[in-house]
């Protein structure tokens, strides 16, 4: 089973002029040159080869530009159709019933948590939230194909990866509330999760900064001969940042075992992909960097799983980066600070929610297999909602962290000038205590 097919498919051409075709063919293969029968080439043309250190190719004697429009889009790899039916049986990952059930339960639990936390932000109970609607399949499909020790660098819309690895509802809630049990000590905005234990590097807001960092971490893994890989998630909008370019290039040149996983959901806040790039999405950039690349249906959890599993094998066995572009659709608003109906139609959103949803598709599959029915669905809905509400109710009243944590972890130790400032803050707050929300926080020393 070869899921990562030769790159030639990239350049499959449709109604293409023969000369263009041969040019392209040469462009791709740059060694053996094939000519169309109608195209005569002078006998001297390939007697000398270009010796330029910067490329590996042949001379041509006609001026021909390479037009991206003549390239057919990279195909979208898919395992099951919208009714949850496996299309090619040899592509069935043949996951156990338990695994499939966990996939489904994690996707739906994430969905339930999203609904509760989204509403809680609307009520002003947490300051900010970002849902994962429509992209649950990319999270769970990829996470399920990794070794739990593989290191994850995310953007912010990958909570499902954490959920798959065992981040608890309590831990999600504690972070969103910034209470004293939050691993991040309440310092970051909601949804900026991180877990040392689960090998998930803490999220930060600046887009794409994690991408070249992930390449560096992968290099460290290679030198340390860990037999593990690094996975870096990012959206198609973030891929426009300079850091994305640096990341792809460094990873390829320095032979890093890393999976770049792009969630192409059609929008970066309000910006549609037509304003984001002119090429064939993100996947088409991969070969330009010398990266093995594949595009998958992000709403097909099995397709994502297969691609990630295979990509991981390549990373670990060959120390090479792999680019996966998962095509999907951002069903929710960008964040709680965004009303997406201003820039896209309700019908469009509804189409993806109702017709091509990763959760629905997996449910169809499970029903086809006899793993799931309406009764179980009903029970799980009640149970999962109960679990979420319980964690939510527990996290809300918890005290916020000690105000002194404002000064720790800036450096490994609190340096003298910060000790001074800490002392000053404590003295000041003591003097003006009625003006500060001291009762919401753990007590200062």
């Amino acid at each position: 089973m070869s899921l990562i097919r030769p790159l030639a498919f990239l350049f499959r051409t449709r109604n293409l002029h023969k000369r263009h075709q041969s040019l392209l063919y040469r462009y791709i293969h740059n060694s053996e040159v094939s000519y169309s029968s109608t195209h005569k080439v002078s006998s001297t043309s390939f007697e000398d080869k270009p010796e330029f250190p910067g490329s590996r190719s042949q001379y041509v004697h006609k001026l021909e530009f390479l037009h991206p429009e003549i390239l057919q889009g990279i195909p979208v790899y898919r395992v099951m159709n919208r009714n949850g039916k496996i299309i090619e049986s040899d592509q069935d990952p043949q996951l156990t019933k338990d695994t499939v059930l966990k996939m489904y339960k994690d996707m739906t639990l994430l969905n339930t948590m999203d609904r509760v936390l989204y509403e809680s932000q609307r009520q002003g109970r947490i300051s900010f939230y970002m849902t994962n609607y429509g992209e649950e399949g990319t999270h769970i499909g990829s996470a399920s194909a990794l070794d739990p020790r593989d290191l994850i660098f995310g953007q912010y819309r990958e909570a499902g990866v954490l959920m798959w690895r065992g981040f608890t509802l309590d831990q999600f809630m504690n972070q969103c509330y910034g209470n004293h049990l939050d691993f991040g000590k309440g310092r970051q905005m909601p949804v900026h999760y991180g877990s040392k234990k689960l090998n998930f590097v803490t999220i930060s807001s600046p887009l794409a900064t994690q991408m070249p960092q992930a390449a560096g971490a992968a290099y460290a893994f290679k030198v340390q001969k860990k037999g593990l890989c690094v996975v870096c998630y990012f959206g198609e909008g973030a891929a426009s940042e300079g850091d994305a370019h640096a990341a792809f290039n460094f990873a390829a040149v320095l032979d890093c075992p890393i999976i770049f996983f792009c969630r192409n959901n059609g929008y970066a806040i309000s910006t549609p992909t037509k304003d984001q790039y002119k090429g064939d999405g993100i996947a088409a950039r991969g070969p330009g960097y010398g990266m093995i690349t594949v595009r998958v249906d992000g709403n097909d959890v099995f397709a994502v799983h297969n691609a990630t599993k295979h990509a991981r094998d390549i990373c670990v066995s060959q120390n090479r980066p792999v680019l996966i572009e998962a095509m999907t659709y951002r069903i929710g608003h960008h964040s709680t600070s965004d009303d997406s109906s201003v820039y896209r139609s309700v019908d469009e959103v509804s189409y993806w929610d109702k017709q091509d949803n990763p959760i629905t598709r997996l449910r169809h599959y499970m029903e086809n297999q006899g793993y799931w029915d309406d009764e179980m669905e009903k029970e799980w809905k009640v149970e999962s909602r109960k679990m979420v509400m319980k964690a939510f109710a527990a996290a809300e009243p918890r005290k916020k962290p000690n105000p002194e944590y404002l000064f720790t972890d800036v450096y490994d130790k609190v340096p003298p000038h910060l000790q001074e400032q800490l002392k000053e803050m404590k003295k000041h707050v003591q003097q003006y205590k009625e003006h500060y929300p001291l009762e919401q926080h753990e007590k200062m020393s």
Binding site: L151, F183, T209, G216, Y219, A220, D409, V410
Partner: protein
């Protein structure tokens, strides 16, 4: 947090002012505006050998690679030895997996180092000139500096050190002359370190590499070849966050944390000099702090002798730099105030 005295070089110049043998009126502007006075290594650091500053940097890097199997060195052109020769021989000695060229991208270099450090490796990144560190500003400011804080100490990049040549070099113009420390001094979470000679360079660089915080180590490139002294060949370090006083009595070296305040309290008069432009330069921070701590001891306004608030111009370098004559004038002002 600026860890070493930015004024050391200036102080050195001031000390020289009072030594008539350096008080020459001949004007030779084509090379440099200072005379390097070799320092003497502490005898406790063992055997010494003659090294210039780039050699002492190589020596520090060599020791780091030898003692720490996780340490890697990378940046533009470091594999063949670096454009300033700081990494000569290291690739051959430690292999190209540990000393390697990166693609030409500063944001990539710093971020790659952050990733290495986050994954437990000692990352020593080189930015070819301090002038070109700005593409990596976001990675340094928003990422490296905040990594530990934002994760609640779950993750950190304490094992990252960024080395970069800095400062005027006689003909470097706008983009091969800059002193950029003030931009980074405004970033909680980073340590910025600048040595004044080969002995300090090696000891402070080793401290940076071993410090559990991301450090930026700026190497004054004019000193790479010009500053030569007897440098300990073995492993030693000079603590960060401590200043040093160079007094007329040549061998007296004192290190204390609140050195500035003690020194100012004693003299009542201060000149702060740096090559970087005046406005918002690090001297502003120092002046404000000294004014706050030593208000009753000050006998004259604090003098700041700095580069002008212009870009660094090629042929105008002699007029731009806060050279000994400008420092001397400031001292005269203080004395007669």
């Amino acid at each position: 947090m600026i860890c070493t005295s930015l004024t050391r070089a200036a102080k050195k110049i001031l000390v020289q002012q009072f030594k008539s043998k350096y008080f020459s009126v001949t004007c030779s502007r084509t090379t440099s505006s200072f005379t390097y006075v070799p320092d003497t290594a502490s005898p406790e650091h063992g055997e010494t050998t003659r090294m210039n500053l780039f050699q002492s940097v190589t020596s520090a890097l060599d020791i780091s690679l030898a003692n720490d199997p996780s340490a890697v060195i990378f940046g533009e052109d470091v594999a063949f030895g670096g454009v300033f020769r700081c990494t000569v021989g290291l690739k051959d000695k430690y292999g190209n997996e540990r000393v390697f060229n990166s693609p030409l991208s500063e944001q990539g270099i710093v971020a790659f180092g952050i990733g290495l450090a986050a994954a437990g490796s000692t990352a020593i990144a080189e930015i070819q000139f301090a002038d070109y560190i700005f593409p990596a500003f976001d990675q340094i400011r928003n990422e490296a500096a905040m990594f530990r804080f934002r994760s609640g100490n779950l993750f950190d990049v304490g094992k990252l050190t960024i080395r970069s040549p800095c400062g005027a070099v006689g003909h470097g113009a706008l983009y091969h002359s800059q002193m950029v420390e003030a931009f980074f001094a405004h970033m909680p979470g980073i340590k910025v370190v600048i040595p004044r000679g080969p002995i300090e360079a090696k000891g402070l660089l080793l401290s940076c590499i071993r410090d559990d915080n991301p450090c930026i180590f700026f190497e004054p490139k004019i000193l790479y070849r010009a500053a030569i002294e007897e440098v300990p060949t073995g492993d030693y370090s000079i603590p960060l966050s401590e200043a040093e006083v160079l007094i007329e009595a040549r061998h007296l070296i004192v290190r204390k944390l609140c050195l500035y305040f003690q020194s100012v309290s004693k003299t009542g008069k201060v000149v702060i000099a740096h090559e970087a432009p005046l406005t918002m330069g690090f001297s502003a921070e120092m002046a404000a702090v000294i004014q706050n701590e030593c208000f009753l001891n000050l006998e004259a306004p604090i003098q700041r002798v700095c580069g002008y608030d212009t870009p660094f111009s090629c042929v105008h370098e002699p007029f731009f730099l806060p050279d000994k004559w400008r420092c001397f004038e400031a001292v005269k002002k203080l004395v007669s105030f």
